[in-house]
Every structure is written in structure tokens, then in C-alpha cells.
Symmetry: C2
Subunit: 400 residues, 2 copies
Amino acid sequence: MATPETEQKVEGEQVINPWEVSAKDGGKIDYDKLIEKFGCQRIDQTLVNRIEHLTSRPAHIFLRRGVFFAHRDFKEILDLYEKGEKFYLYTGRGPSSEALHLGHLVPFMFTKYLQDAFKVPLVIQLTDDEKCMWKNLSVEECKRLARENAKDIIACGFDISRTFIFSDFNFIGGAFYENMVRVSKCVTFNKVVGIFGFTNEDHIGKISFPPIQAVPSFPSSFPHLFSDSKDLRCLIPCAIDQDPYFRMTRDVAPRLGYHKPSLIESSFFPALQGETGKMSASDPNSAIYVTDSAKAIKNKINKYAFSGGQDSIENHRKFGANLDVDIPFKYLGFFLDDDAELEHIKTEYGAGRMLTGEVKKRLIDVLSELVERHQRARAAVTEEMVDAFMAVRPLPNMFS
Amino acid sequence: MATPETEQKVEGEQVINPWEVSAKDGGKIDYDKLIEKFGCQRIDQTLVNRIEHLTSRPAHIFLRRGVFFAHRDFKEILDLYEKGEKFYLYTGRGPSSEALHLGHLVPFMFTKYLQDAFKVPLVIQLTDDEKCMWKNLSVEECKRLARENAKDIIACGFDISRTFIFSDFNFIGGAFYENMVRVSKCVTFNKVVGIFGFTNEDHIGKISFPPIQAVPSFPSSFPHLFSDSKDLRCLIPCAIDQDPYFRMTRDVAPRLGYHKPSLIESSFFPALQGETGKMSASDPNSAIYVTDSAKAIKNKINKYAFSGGQDSIENHRKFGANLDVDIPFKYLGFFLDDDAELEHIKTEYGAGRMLTGEVKKRLIDVLSELVERHQRARAAVTEEMVDAFMAVRPLPNMFS
């Protein structure tokens, strides 16, 4: 693996870490450069084909469209899977806000697909302690947000028999804490400064956090879930801004006699205003939330979604839309599952025969349906279901 | 309280922190200077008299002889006690070695006296995680040592109905972890560098540890023990090298809406070779261990205990012993409970009428009896008793 590189800000350079995503000079994120800098591998068509073959189902839209575009040692997971060896999935969320936006759903929608396709157990970490340490929020408020966010996650349709959701405040202790100590012993202050850009003025809560996100990568952190599987491999689906945590984890793992976790990493879901970073929680008009009404979705897309269309109908018919910057087209790339229809829009809109209004209308339909479906599913999530997903219990990890 | 001052080493200066105790230029620890530097208060005769009055029993030998010589806000605890308000005791141990030496027993013997005299609950923290992070020891070995050390602690005679012993690896989680996060948020890296002298090359396990020793000072860390007493005050008996942890704790407490813990602090039990620091675990001949045989005790004292006697009998009769440096006399000061007899030895030995051999013989008798009594008590500690002391359960905290 690549040596973790310093993420400290260089004027004008792109910065990608768990707390900041900003492109070079305010432009677009350069994902090729990111792959090179982080030292991960690109997901190519051969790999997508192999996944389809192994799972006997079409690749998920996020794989076909290159949303999940990079990986670390995913091939190793597939080699073992082919030989009959299972793995487990680990993903997570920092529960900082009540309502999730579409970008937050991306890793969970993809993780659900992976769970269904590979029939594997899954642990979902809610880092309520992280949010408490980074934001001016009380322990109690962060625990409440974790539970609210769990309902949205459950609404994504995870298989309760194979899924364990936990919040750090509720779960840390025992074997999990022992692994936190083991990891902490292997990482110097200088090292976390290099990986995460901490400073001497940061509080020690921040400095002590990275091992907490690292240890769910090791099955021995969950003895009650994976009692007979200490060699079980771990695959982490996540957005690529989380990569620093797992570079650190992969660096430490062999020293503890543990397997390195594998990763499958996504690009960022762009803001309505344009593709220069992630959506901002502080600007509600930069994102579609899973709590938005159909009317709000229609209004946000019509009013704020950055268009690549030309400034007049005449010019648009003449030059066509600039699809590289067009947000409605990009959003359809994430959520319009029909490849033929997307290709049709690409051709017609790009040639100027289709207008921005028509593309936005199609997007409004697609997102309204998605959000409405999510809202229905979330309304059906009971407190008892949350308790059941969060109950510590053995998860099946053999083929069933 | 005093602003925590940097404990970083200045050439030739005395250094007192949890990991290093060394006097200026290899001389004796200057406790007056320490009180001034740390900003704590001296325990004077008026305070000792008040304790005797409040507890209706003679002051403990360690109070009468000035072993516990400094405090922070102990008077506040006594004021409240006088008005009928109870408190709880908190002490601890880093379980780094199998056998305890006499210096290790000092805080526990004194804590037992406080528990008996004030009839208060007690929590004892075994920082097995700390030892794992500071020493080249596995998690499993540290957990084993914690349990072995718990047996020696129990052998000191604590009241099981009022005493909860816990190891960090077994106990950390829940409300205790929540307080760890609350404390961590209030302490920057620069701050722990200033208090503990950490460097950028230290691993983040060390940097994240101080809050773990801080939070047993807050009753809300133990909701199952002190369910109805969130305002219960805390008194910490400890050696003064632990003061940096509690300076930090007292600094943070008001910001969390918690009471500052009070402290009662001891000087160091000197090594057999002389009073220039604490005893060294790496040199078995520098200390009397609770596992030593009567024969070993006799041999160590006769062979290694630094004598203040003169080099010839003639000179000794003429000049008398130098009691300021005489280890047998100092050890008797810790453990010979008979004030009149100690005074007699002081006069006779100091005047040269008593010889080193006679003083050593008296010390051998006193320590052999003490160690033998401890060994009998420890042999009677069963695994079931350890489990009972370590069981999470309500502790009575009202007058009984």
C-alpha cells in the first residue's frame, strides 16, 4: 500500500479528508489524481463483469455508472469468495444532522446491494462520539441523532438477520475497546498529523478518535457477532474521503496479526449548485433531503440545480448542453436505473434536441419517487425494529 | 488552583510525574517545593486533629508521621461531612508487575483507614489499559496482572459492601466512556504536553489516556453504583506523582458542571538504597515485596538498607546516626505504630547509644509480621471474592 501522505492544505490544491472536500482552485475533484495520491486501484469493466458473474445478478447502478470507482484489495475478497470463503461488510455514518440527504444514502444503497448480492453479514457504525467531539453537540443529542439516523438506514432495506447497527456511545467496551488500545499503540501523534492534519491545538478527543473508526475492520472487535470467524475478511464500502482512516487501519493491521480490510470507494454526490465538492449540511438548498416534500424537490431542482444548457433556446439547439457540468444529468446518472433511457437523454440533451426543463422534469419524477419510497419505508420503522437491529447477537456468516 | 505547569525535564531539576520521580541533582525530593509548584496545601496538625475529632478515632500512622502530607480541598470534604454529607473515595493502581512492594501498599492501607473511619464507598481503578500502552505487554497479560493485583488489594481488608474494584479493559463503556469523551473535548494536545510532557513521537494511546484516569472522579461515571448521588463529592488518596492527572481533572470539572475532586497526597516510600526517589520495579533488591519470605526480608534489610550509622562503633557512639538518611529508621516511621517506641529509637539511635544492627532487627520484626499478615490475607482471597468485588452493583453511600 501507499505510504499515508500528508493531507495538510496546500494553497490551491485539492484537499480530501473526512472533514474537508475541496477541489483545486474551486474546480472539479480530480479523481484520477486522488487514486494516484491515495494509492488505491480503479474499478474497471473487467472487475464489474466479474462481480456480475460471481453474484449472478446485474451490477448495481453505482458500479455501472462509476459512482463506486476505486478499491483496495477488493479482488482478494472476490478470489476468496470464489473459493467459498465469506466476508463481512462494514460501513458507517457520523450522525451529525437529523435529516439525511441523497449523498448520505449513496453508501447505504450500495451496501444493501452488496449484502443482498453476496449474502454477507454487515456491521454499521454510528460514530455519535465523533460528532460529539467535532461539533458543539452534547452526548445526549448525539445519541438521539444516532438513533434517528438508524431509522433512515434501516429504511434502506437491510436484512435484519445479517445486520448489526451500533452507536459508539452504546457499544464501546470489551473486545472493541481492547482493539482500540492495540491500534492506538501503533500510531504516533506525528502519524495522525500526517494522515489527518491535526494540530497541537486540537483536543485529544479528536486525536484519539481514528482507532475507533479503525477497529470495526477487525472481526475480533465483535466476538458476540463473529464468534467462530476471527479470520473473516472485511470489505468497507465508503466515500473516498474516509480513505485516510483505512490507510491507517491497513498500515496497522499486519502488526496486530490482523487482515487488512478491503475497500470499495465512491466519488462524491455533487451539490445542486455544481460539482465542486460534497453537499453542505449548512445550506439546505444545496441538497435534496430524504425529508423533502415532492413540492420542495420540484422547487429545489428547478431553482437551484446547475444547468449545462445554453442561455437561449437558439444557442441550446445549436450547441447542445454541456453534460460535464449539468447537475440534472449527473443526478440521473446516480438514480435513473434504465441505461437505455439515460443514453437517450445523453444523446438528445447533449445535441440540444432536449431542453433543460425536460431533463429536470424527468429528474423530479425519479427523485420524488425515490424520496417518497424512502419516507414510506422510514415511517414503517418502529422503535422495536431499531432495538432489534442494535441488539448484540450472533450474525450468520456462512453461506445460507 | 494553580495553572498546570510543564513537567518537562530541566537539567538537574527535580521531576515528579506519573512516570518519573527524580530529585534535583540526585539528592532528596524537595516536598515543600513540590507543594509550591503543584499548588496544593500542606496537611498540618490542626487538620490532623480535626480528622481525629470527626472520625472519633486516632489518626492513621501515615497522617501522624506526615506520609500523607499534602491535599487539595480536603477541608471542603470535611466541612460537608460535618454537615452530614457523605463522599466517596477513588484510588487506583497500574498493574504492571505481579508482586507489589511496600510502597504500593501505602495508598491502599491508608484508603482502607479512610473507608473505615468515614464509612464511605470506594472505587478502585486498575489501569490495565495504561500498562498495556506504556509497557511492552499484551492486553491479555495486563488483564491477568490486574486480577492478580486485585487480590493483593482485597487482602488489605476493604469492606466488600462498600468497595468496587474495576479494570479498565473490563469496565470502560457506557456512562464512563461518555465522560471520557466529555473530558477529552476540554483538553488540547498542547495541554497534555504541558502537564505530562508527551512528545509528537508518543503514540496516541498515551495521549488519549489521561481522561481515563480522570473520570472516576465523577460519580456520574458510575450510574449503577451511585444512582441517586450525582453531586456526591470525591476524595482521592494517592501518591503525589499522580497529581498531574488530577490537576487536569480539576481544571476540566467545572466546565462539565461537575465538582472538582479533592485529593490527599503522600510522599514516596523510599528505596532500600536511600531516599532519592521511588522504588524501582526493575531492581528486586531495591524494595521489600509482599511476596518476600522472612528470610529474604532479613537479608535485604541487613544487606541493602542504607544506614545513617557511623563507619565505626567508636564514631557511632561519638556522633550518633544521621537519621535524615537512615532507611531503617525511615521505614520504621512508616510502619512502627508505637509513637513512644519510635521516639525512643530516634533519641537513642540519634545519640549513638543504639546501633544500626539493633534498629535493623526491629525493622525486620515489624516488616516480617506485616508481610506475613498480608500473605495470609492474600492466600484467603478466592476467585469468587475477586468477582464479588468487581461486580457492578449499587454501593451504599448514606450513613449506616
